[in-house]
């Protein structure tokens, strides 16, 4: 921009009032956008909040999983896996994780810890001890290791599985 002076003004300055007005307008719009982003964050659009919390279950209700729909890269989160009482035998129960689970999420800990970890053609199987005929809950503390849309799946061996469509923010 070439410095120019308005007639009657001795000051040589590259002022452009129209640009300045557009600039102010852009600032105002940006503030509104920032406020909207913060409001969305408070609601859970960027993980942790009502928009993010969700649950899914198999059609017969044998397996129910509460999980966050939105995660952030390297930010720990928890899946709560409920197994119906009728699905727990005297040998306990087994959960199976699909390969995408292992590819996209690191399991920091499961509570309780499984008795055995097995690899199967379908992925990874975790065998849990449990009191026969009593409902069981397993907490998966996980840490996303990749970002984008992922679809981990947890199945109850002998019953169905639940897909968890999740978006991981970078």
């Amino acid at each position: 921009m070439k410095p120019k002076s308005r007639p009657g003004r001795s000051l040589q300055i590259s002022e452009d009032f129209d640009f300045q007005v557009r600039n102010w307008r852009a600032e105002r719009i940006a503030w509104v956008v920032m406020a909207l982003v913060l409001a969305a964050a408070a609601l859970g659009l960027f993980s942790v909040g009502p928009l993010s919390n969700t649950s899914a279950s198999t059609s017969d209700g044998a397996l129910k999983i509460a999980y966050p729909r939105f995660l952030r890269l390297n930010a720990p989160a928890t899946f709560k896996v409920h197994v119906r009482a009728a699905s727990v035998s005297d040998k306990g129960f087994a959960l199976e994780l699909n390969p995408e689970f292992a590819d996209s999420l690191q399991i920091v800990q499961t509570l309780p810890a499984p008795e055995r970890w097995l690899t199967t053609a379908q992925g990874v199987r975790l065998q849990f001890a449990a009191a026969a005929g009593e409902a069981a809950t397993v907490h998966f503390h996980i840490d996303p290791i990749g970002f984008g849309s992922i679809k981990p799946r947890i199945s109850l061996v002998g019953a169905g599985g639940v897909d968890m469509p999740i978006f991981v923010y970078p």
Partner: protein, 149 residues
């Protein structure tokens, strides 16, 4: 790749946010501006490095940030439009001792700021001794005193 992408994103994001927040008083840093700067720096640092504290990551990041700086200064030099988009333009806020209230209000600068700059740089006492006050692109206020002060 990861380090470069992180560096690029954070550089551009900070550039946009700082520019659009309209912090035109950055040159006159108050105590709170200083605190804000510290907190932003601390917050940024975590996301920039991620879990990778290797020297390689550090070197890549520094190269990315310095590279962006060189590239932008080069582009700004070639394109005046880009320059004013990124740096903004100076704005006259006092003319012949008369504060331009609409401009002051929209820039979130008040008459006291102008008088403070006038005192500090020229030892002026009153608004009517100021010929021009200009809010510079870098956020500082320049004062041109009237000849007959």
């Amino acid at each position: 790749m990861d380090a470069v992408a992180r560096g690029l994103f954070i550089y551009l994001f900070l550039l946009a946010v700082i520019r659009l927040s309209g912090r035109r008083t950055l040159a006159e840093t108050t105590a709170f501006d200083f605190i804000l700067l510290l907190i932003v720096a601390e917050t940024t640092q975590q996301a920039l490095l991620g879990n990778d504290f290797s020297v390689t990551n550090c070197a890549l990041l520094i190269l990315t940030l310095v590279g962006m700086d060189i590239l932008l200064s080069f582009l700004k030099n070639r394109s005046p439009r880009l320059e004013r988009l990124i740096d903004g333009l100076p704005l006259i806020i006092v003319e012949q001792g008369r504060p331009l209230h609409d401009r002051l209000r929209k820039s979130r600068v008040d008459e006291d700021d102008v008088l403070a700059a006038a005192r500090k740089h020229h030892g002026l006492e009153r608004m009517d001794q100021i010929k021009y006050a200009v809010l510079e692109a870098n956020g500082g206020i320049s004062i041109i005193p009237k000849d007959d002060k």
